[in-house]
């Protein structure tokens, strides 16, 4: 229930063993490394940094380059657990750099080719747009010449100059259509932009162009101009695509080599990372870090084995470290939950990392979240669809390795299963009461037909269930808060705060008073002595938080002799006014806070009722669309649409509401999210 117990390791090994120790630590992957001088501040001047390897920056850069290369083709590498680290050594960085740069150059060449083709395509598109815009008709060349940005020429060119002409014209948007070959000449039509007339005429002249009038037999010729340009564009796009594929192939062809390089580089980086925490004396290196207490033995054994016993190991408990550093050092937090709880742990860590040795609410969130979801969204059919979606999503994303998205889909899967289970409890399948409810008939209650359960008869009973559930959640939060404060020996907050003993006293007193009033038809309050005990005494006592704090502070100061520095405590009028104000605000916060926290859970009933009502409305719409009894195709479509809409929109809003209730009504009672996560340096990192 609490976050895992951690132990602090300080180890001294011989300088000669540092590389083997780094490798062993990496392989083991359990040490959350910390700079030893953070805990032992007095060692700061005595220990030197380990010199930074000159290749470190190059290794990182090279690794990133490889990642960028493979990422572009949708591949990512991962370190494998079975990597042999003992014989590992990074070699030939220059060679690797050369190889990678060569691959990059190859890709760049391909991209440049693609770019040039793209420019050709765009030039054709420019011509095409202008031709289409003016409605070009070859048979009326003169008109075109007069009114558009296009110019057309017809003439002969020596056969041997044809290719060079085409090449020369590439700088400008143009289309050359060869029409007939005679002797050693090609008769061709050239279409280009008027703005380039001067440059193109110069090129034509150089190529031996002999301009002619369009012969009459050509005037009715079907030039299929736009088609011709389209074909050229299609061909160019094909070439471009081919080159793009070639660029990808360049990477694919080297993928094994790249993976090998990447693995070597990544391991080197991780070893450097471990060594960056090492401090040294003349012959030894010192390092430190946090380990879950359960893994103390294995790490100690590993270091002893690697160094053949020539090392010094010291263990400190988290309490001891906190005492040394007066709580300045944060102990990393390891949340130890079954893998199946991972999606719910994600919800917890999204809110914050709990402080060390406080309650990890993950296992409770599993139940609270799912119960809320089930109460708000209960349907066998819709639940199964959600569950299948979650399952498929998590399987699809498993390949891409995106942890958070996989967890999100797993959460959807769990929500779907819960909705299915609740559907059986309330007898609902795709919004219809098709199965016999195991608990009560939600539809029956909402529609006023009776629930089939003698205890739950109407909507108010459903609201009652959700409020009772809410009170239980709040009480649990209060208990967790007490546990956290007892562990931290924070007695004042344990007694005097909203989620402390007095706050809980008022909350439970309030519940009793409410129940009493309900029982007496809202006409009678509990007797005065009960009111005094249930609400007035704790409300008065809660105001004493400040004075008690001042007294404790005074005792502490006396013991640390600060009073000698001239700091004295005086009771002033403004101080008394502050005390009064704080008291009033605190009371307001306790009373209004608990009232709103409790009523907030009414939304659980509200969403459940809305779910049934929405489905009923869709079925009525379907009936109306079908024009009477039974459903025609249109009616069925309305039902399908209604179900989908409810699954997507309501599923989403119910998921968010469950999260909201967890975060704001449950977590706020006890959760202090200022912890730091335990992150050991390991091969998977």
């Amino acid at each position: 229930m609490l976050t895992e117990s951690m132990s602090y390791l300080i180890a001294v090994v011989r300088d000669n063993d540092k590389e083997d120790v780094s490798k062993a630590l990496l392989k083991l992957g359990v040490l959350h490394m910390v700079d030893v001088t953070e805990v032992k501040e007095d060692w700061r001047g005595k220990l030197a940094e380990l010199p930074v390897a000159s290749t470190r920056g190059r290794i990182e850069e090279l690794r990133k380059k490889i990642e960028s290369m493979v990422r572009a083709i949708g591949v990512s590498f991962k370190l494998k657990d079975n990597v042999d680290l003992k014989s590992y050594k990074i070699e030939n960085i220059e060679e690797k750099e050369e190889k990678i740069n060569k691959i990059f150059e190859e890709i760049d060449e391909k991209r440049e080719k693609q770019r040039l083709i793209q420019q050709e395509i765009m030039k054709y598109e420019d011509i095409k747009r202008n031709i289409s815009g003016t409605g070009l008709d070859i048979s009326s060349l003169h008109l075109v010449k007069e009114y558009s940005f296009i110019e057309i020429k017809y003439g002969d060119i020596p056969l041997e100059s044809y290719d060079s002409l085409e090449k020369e014209l590439k700088s400008y948007p143009n289309v050359v259509i060869p029409l007939k070959k005679e002797d050693n000449n090609v008769s061709a039509l050239i279409i280009f932009m008027k703005r380039n007339s001067a440059e193109i005429e110069e090129i034509l002249e150089k190529s031996g162009w002999n301009e002619k009038a369009v012969p009459p037999e050509l005037k009715n010729y079907d030039y299929g101009l736009l088609k011709n340009i389209d074909e050229k564009i299609i061909e160019l796009r094909r070439q471009q695509k081919e080159i793009a594929d070639e660029a990808d192939r360049v990477v694919f062809d080297h993928i094994d080599e790249l993976e090998r390089y990447w693995t070597e580089l990544r391991i080197a980086e991780l070893i450097y990372k471990i060594e960056s925490y090492f401090k040294r004396t003349s012959t030894t290196v010192i390092f430190s870090g946090w380990v879950p207490t359960g893994k103390k033995e294995i790490i100690e054994k590993t270091i002893l084995d690697v160094t053949k016993g020539k090392c010094y190991i010291q263990w400190l408990s988290a309490d001891e470290v906190e005492k040394i550093e007066h709580r300045k050092v944060k102990v990393p937090v390891s949340l130890k939950n079954p893998r199946v709880f991972a999606p719910f742990q994600m919800l917890v860590t999204n809110y914050g990392i709990p402080e060390y040795r406080t309650v990890d609410p993950t296992p409770f969130v599993v139940f609270i979240y799912l119960i809320m979801f089930g109460l708000m969204f209960a349907d066998v059919g819709q639940g199964l669809i959600i569950a299948v979606t979650g399952l498929i999503g998590s399987l699809v994303y498993k390949r891409h390795g995106k942890e958070n998205i996989i967890n999100l889909f797993k959460l959807i899967f769990w929500c779907g299963l819960t909705a299915t289970f609740s559907g059986f409890l309330f007898g609902s399948v795709f919004g219809l009461p098709l199965v016999k409810p195991l608990w009560f008939n939600y539809h029956g209650i909402v529609l006023g037909h009776g629930s089939g359960n003698s205890y739950i008869k109407n909507i108010f009973d459903i609201i009652k269930i959700s409020v009772i559930f809410g009170i239980s959640v709040i009480e649990l939060g209060i208990v967790f808060n007490w546990i956290n404060l007892i562990i931290k020996r924070d007695w004042i907050n344990l007694i005097f705060t909203k989620s402390g003993i007095l706050g809980a006293w008022i909350f439970n007193g309030g519940i009793y008073i409410s129940l009493y009033m309900v029982k007496h038809g809202y006409k009678e309050m509990p007797p005065m002595q009960q009111l005094l005990f249930l609400a007035i005494i704790p409300a008065v006592l809660i105001g004493f938080k400040k004075p008690v704090e001042r007294i404790v502070e005074r005792i502490e100061i006396k013991t640390t002799e600060k009073i000698a520095e001239g700091k004295k405590f005086n009771i002033s009028i403004s101080g008394l006014m502050n005390f009064g104000m704080e008291w009033a605000v605190e009371l307001l916060e306790v009373f209004s806070g608990y009232l709103s926290n409790t009523l907030s859970f009414m939304r659980v009933a509200g969403f459940g009722i809305a779910h049934v009502s929405l489905m009923v409305a869709f079925y009525q719409l379907a009936e109306m669309a079908s024009g009477g009894e039974g459903y025609n195709l249109f009616g069925i479509l309305v039902i399908i649409f209604g179900n989908l809409l409810v699954i997507v929109l309501e599923g989403l809003s119910v998921g968010i509401q469950s999260l909201r209730l967890n975060y704001y009504e449950f977590f706020t009672k006890f959760f202090r999210g200022s912890g730091i996560l335990y992150r050991p340096i390991k091969l998977e990192a």
Binding site: E61, M69, A72, Q114, I117, G133, F149, R195
Partner: protein, 356 residues
């Protein structure tokens, strides 16, 4: 009957707030900045609203085309907002969108100028022109193909830009640069924008003038920096080119700049002392002056973002939501463009981070 603020801004407020969630995160920027290559940088845009940039680059190898795509996207974003608003908000968004039209027109005029006055080959520039309508009907093809100013003016006849281009063209020919015409177009844009504040109610007008005022300040500082770096400071026309309507910077002081000493006075006097410690600068050194101007620009940018966030956090049914989103989104797009260009030119992540 005039529409209520809720009916004018209610829908767009909800839409823009939802879109704020799609802005690139700081973590994403760090990824983009530290990417060693353009390809990797673009690959980090997958699963963001900008994933099309990667697709365009991988399909064509043409980063300019990807940039054009980004420009199109920017216009589409605000075009979409334009469609979602009515009444005063519609007019304001339309006026804001004129910025893109002005930028595009500047591009077209540069092409026309290079082709007809400088006789340069501009074919590769023409390929990357945005040709769709933004706010007014501009015959883009006529301008890029024009042989005379008359054709250009004819292409602009349905726009407010025709008069400015006609009046300023002699200056363009005299000075051999379109810079001053571009500045006048900016003046026109901001004048039109500031005039629009008249249609807003008092609260909206206050937000509007503040945000647009800071943007004008930034433009003015940018103009001085550019002029100072390229032309030197002894330009008489400085007074003419600065845009009126700034929020923090006193234009009359800036307009009187005639030497580097004056610029140092501006640096000392324009902004409150707490914002800049003039003792850190050696005003006889041109680089220090430029550094000072850049610093002011960076501070104004910071101020602009703060104002935008304030506008977004304030009363939801006001022009503040649209303007706040406009400021934040345009900065995001500008940053993205800068990162893309830095990768093309091989600027190191550290240098890039500093310049951003």
């Amino acid at each position: 009957m005039p529409k209520s603020a809720i009916s004018t801004y209610g829908f767009i407020n909800a839409r823009l707030r939802a879109r704020l969630g799609l802005l690139l995160t700081e973590e994403k920027y760090n990824q983009l900045i530290s990417a060693p290559t353009l390809e990797e940088m673009l690959s980090y845009l997958r699963d963001t609203p900008y994933e099309i940039l990667e697709r365009v680059y991988r399909d064509t190898g043409d980063i300019k085309l990807a940039e054009l795509e980004l420009f199109k996207k920017e216009i589409a974003i605000f075009g979409d907002i334009l469609k979602s608003v009515t009444d005063k908000a519609h007019e304001i968004v339309k006026s804001l969108m004129m910025k893109y039209e002005v930028e595009n027109l500047k591009n077209l005029l540069r092409i026309f100028f290079s082709r007809t006055v400088k006789n340069q080959n501009v074919e590769n520039l023409i390929l990357y022109i945005y040709r769709e309508r933004i706010v007014h009907d501009i015959d883009v093809d006529s301008i890029v193909n024009a042989d005379s100013l008359a054709t250009v003016l004819d292409a602009l006849k349905k726009t407010p830009y025709q008069k400015t281009v006609e009046e300023e063209w002699p200056v363009v020919q005299e000075k051999g640069t379109v810079f001053f015409l571009e500045v006048k177009l900016d003046h026109l844009y901001y004048k039109n924008l500031l005039n629009m504040s008249g249609i807003l109610n008092q609260r909206d007008r206050y937000i509007f003038n503040r945000l647009i005022g800071v943007e004008i300040d930034i433009q003015n500082i940018d103009l001085i920096t550019r002029l100072f770096g390229v032309y030197g400071v002894k330009e008489k026309f400085l007074r003419e080119i600065l845009i009126p309507g700034g929020h923090r910077i006193n234009i009359s002081k800036m307009g009187s700049i005639s030497s580097s000493e004056d610029i140092s006075e501006i640096l000392k006097g324009t902004l409150p002392g707490s914002m800049i410690d003039v003792k850190d600068f050696d005003f006889s050194d041109k680089r220090d002056i430029i550094r000072g101007l850049e610093l002011i620009e960076a501070m104004l940018e910071e101020m602009m973002l703060k104002e935008a966030k304030k506008a977004l956090a304030g009363y939801p049914f006001s022009i503040g939501v649209i303007l706040g989103y406009y400021v934040i989104k345009t900065r995001e797009l500008r940053k993205l463009r800068a990162i893309m260009n830095a990768k093309v030119y091989g600027i190191s992540p550290d240098a890039l981070k500093r310049s951003l």
